[in-house]
Symmetry: C2
Subunit: 441 residues, 2 copies
Amino acid sequence: MVAPLKVGVAGLGTVGAALVALVARQRAELAARCGRPIEIVAVCARSKAKNRGVDLKKFSWFSDPVKLARDPGIDVFVELIGGAGDPAKSAVEAALAAGKSVVTANKALLARHGTSLAARAEKHRVALNFEASVCGAIPIVKTLRQGLAGNSFSRIYGILNGTCNYILTRMEQEQLAFAACLKDAQRLGYAEANPAFDIEGHDTAQKLAILASLAFGTRVDQSAVYVEGISSIAPADLTAADELGYRVKLLGVAEKTATGIEQRVHPTMVRKDSAIARVMGVTNAVTLDTPGIDPITLVGPGAGGMATASAVVSDLADIARGLRSPPFGRPAAALAAGKKAPMQRHAGGYYIRLNALDRPGTFASIARHLAKEKISLESIVQHRRGERPHGGDDPKSPAAPAPVILITYATTEDGVRRALKAIQKTGLIAGKPQLIRIEKN
Amino acid sequence: MVAPLKVGVAGLGTVGAALVALVARQRAELAARCGRPIEIVAVCARSKAKNRGVDLKKFSWFSDPVKLARDPGIDVFVELIGGAGDPAKSAVEAALAAGKSVVTANKALLARHGTSLAARAEKHRVALNFEASVCGAIPIVKTLRQGLAGNSFSRIYGILNGTCNYILTRMEQEQLAFAACLKDAQRLGYAEANPAFDIEGHDTAQKLAILASLAFGTRVDQSAVYVEGISSIAPADLTAADELGYRVKLLGVAEKTATGIEQRVHPTMVRKDSAIARVMGVTNAVTLDTPGIDPITLVGPGAGGMATASAVVSDLADIARGLRSPPFGRPAAALAAGKKAPMQRHAGGYYIRLNALDRPGTFASIARHLAKEKISLESIVQHRRGERPHGGDDPKSPAAPAPVILITYATTEDGVRRALKAIQKTGLIAGKPQLIRIEKN
């Protein structure tokens, strides 16, 4: 038997503890698959005293991840610290500089410094694997890096954040308000105490930046991602979507357009019969569009200690087997400085919800402002004042403004925004108009 | 730039022609990804004169695939001939013996000779890649071989044959008979003139045997697969399934059981809300069950020239990059002689449809025979004689036997078969009882 692959693990949170358990459980199977055993030999965390439910006695203990990264006793450094800055960044750099392969679950680090870290890994001829950084157990990184190397992609989109999908699912299925569902998600441990990172779309944006680079061969560029979260979504939007044959999902979308690679994260209307629309709860999914063939969709658990740890182990297995590709599928130096497609130029259909005041000429005025921007309407839904689509009389009617739902044919972001601004100025609508992009699929 | 990877292609049907076109189209992208160009240099087919819609003039022409396989001008032999026997088998063996990597789409060859061919490839330290042999563009082979190397599987199941799924989808959605849908599938090119291989489940069985080996580390063993096709499925079964919350799909299922690895292909009732139940038409899908984490499902086009060719190209890309794993994920010599779990021992729920004669005591007799085998019933559906579940009076009533639908709790194949035999002997039912296994998911 060949010498074991010696692994040092920095970060012993949920994923780190699950990794220790999984490597022990899969010991024989991994050795059979890889032709050599995989052995955790050293770990690093802040508190040695904390009970993590796994036996750490046989591992060397480090309190400084950079020291562990440089330790001659390890072949591979697993970074589960998190965060785009230090100590994660300096520890990963130290490991690569010491000629050690790195496995990381750190999406923030990769979204910010992915290209330069990939260049370092290639220079030292070591692996930089990060299957666990996007969508937990779904093997999307390897699928893009290798599995579908024969394809070129026109678009890649997905539900990359389980928290948001859980909230939207509950809101839709139980007609609950956003705030109530968020509170439940926090109670169940699906959302952080400070949920902004998830619900404002930043988590999705980091993952999307990584996937876009893999799919399109461009440098990782989180700053190129347009980001909008789900906190403005109201039950009324989900009800209207349902009536029109759609569901609302927070999608990350990266798309080849005439103006460059468009990267955007926002609530999206997707047709109910599409694979992505059927993904419920905390589950993640990614769909890949390739010219000439039907889309491919991968669905699975996007988070959780064991799901994420299993992705780390598959990355370790590749290293144990001596399989190494450029981290982003092609050499870092060959990654193109992706031409960022500006969001103002985004083209597509739109869902618009307005609270129109009950005055003569209101609708004519709205229609005129849309026509001025050459926006054509595919559907208009306005229920009789006082009649609510899903039972019960509106207690505030007839004084309350009536919601008007408009679905546009393909148009541009610019045009829609100008039209809505002009409509708001007329004073004929109450509050802010709701705008949700429609994704063709 | 490194020297190109020189490829010889044997077989120029739909997939071969698409491959020639795709390699040309992806030329620059492949070179960037792999660090070296991929070049088709030689081809082989029976008729040189046939117009295949692609320019073959620049390739060397071979009429004997074995000669092409041995040709010193190629680095990789792509086998798209098909069939478990010669010339495909001898050509693949010749290529491996000559130290050339092989890429094949040939499920029949792998299901029959996979283990021995893998041993030959390993002996000569070359690759034997076969992503295209199962589920077209879905990267399921690589996902099992590498992407999920960190997981162990308890079950893997899927819709592996687009023809059957197309027929079942049409039958369900339009309440059509099997024969009419098969005819349509043939007209549309989804089914062969001789459809037995698809509709009797043998195509699914070959693919399942390959996936089971990859998932469970056992030798490929097509003969261990229990096979039952879809030709007995009646619209009445699909209607009853729908009422009970199920859909009927032809699944290939490989499962770890107490008695060994169970491999089976048969029409299956799956819950409507499961990912697999939502896969419609010619689309394929595979679900992977791993202890401790939620299932992972891959969905996509399972056939078609371009979809299959893209899988061949991704296999070529791995070879160009120098990535090589044992063909079945672990060395052929380490593949276990899987203990075959006999179908008689299969445990699960069953759907039974009987045409019960209208005589006193019929149901009591049926119930007694089931109780004798310790079979408990979860549901019983019998519509009032003359009342048909989906509108219209039964023209043959009240003389016609009434269909009785039974759903059992988990029991064994053996017991159900004995009970049905005994029930048939009573003479109280007309025709053959219908039996469909229920898959938990």
